[in-house]
Symmetry: C2
Subunit: 170 residues, 2 copies
Amino acid sequence: MDDERTDVDVDETDLALLRRVERDDDVNLTELAAELDLSKSAVHYRLNKLKDAGVITAVSADVDPLALGLTTLVITEVSVVHESGYADEIGTELTEIDGTVQVYYTMGDVDFVVLSRVQNREQLNALIDEIVSIDGVNETSSTFVMKELKTGGETVAAMSDEMIANLIEE
Amino acid sequence: MDDERTDVDVDETDLALLRRVERDDDVNLTELAAELDLSKSAVHYRLNKLKDAGVITAVSADVDPLALGLTTLVITEVSVVHESGYADEIGTELTEIDGTVQVYYTMGDVDFVVLSRVQNREQLNALIDEIVSIDGVNETSSTFVMKELKTGGETVAAMSDEMIANLIEE
DNA sequence: AATGAAATCGACCAGCA
DNA sequence: TGCTGGTCGATTTCATT
């Protein structure tokens, strides 16, 4: 029993709807209604509610990086000189480097984890050069991704029964 | 000059369209057409083309993890005993653990990088226990994410001019 | 949360550059 | 090959219960 305060309240139907549209929202209300055993109006009502509540933050097209030649995904750990209080600024600069797709500020001896997509090794070298040239960056360590086994597109689908239960009973 | 063979050919207009819909596809054709200075038919035509070509793999709703109480994001490095050729199987098992949202198979001394979302520390402990109990897993190292600075939703927007140029000139 | 009607939209086509 | 413009059926939307 830890985190009790949840901003929004969703029920099992909402979660089923979310699971469906986070996978594929390129459907009309009639189809959604049939799949979820709801009326079209009910689906419409719930989708609006979920968007208003901020549970659904956007409806977006998923672009295949490979189709654009972005065949290389790299994970880079970035450490900064720990005297500098410029972590915020460094983080912002990391997000602005072309090719970076995910940037996380982390606890521990590594300060940032950066995921980047590039088309070839030259672009990778250029990208890492850009990172190390940021003022305050101390050390970097990069690893190639050989296979993307799960890509993070689906949030609700990744939740356990316990996580679901914590949401429902509130 | 490295990777020359790209499966699909897209032009600047396609990329502008992709940039728009990967950010927000919750708009009608009329609005898209106005923003891109195209006719509705042209937008319709290009969107279909991009979906057929596999550049757009899906249109999906983005769910805010925080709205569902998933306040904790953790990055875990997983090493396997290197005698075992069960890397594929271990990878699959990692993707199936509740809470894991991204799983990458990597080169180097770390074999997998796993990103997980949980609601509290107990769930995190349970998750890590599940990982280490996988047959063949040797060692894990986890790091809390304190701030998500860039979350990887947009692929085209992250591309440099050079990457774009490599795509256009083919 | 359901109904039904009005407004709007997306799909499609024949023709064109 | 990519686009235009217009039509029609389908869809979203909304007031009402």
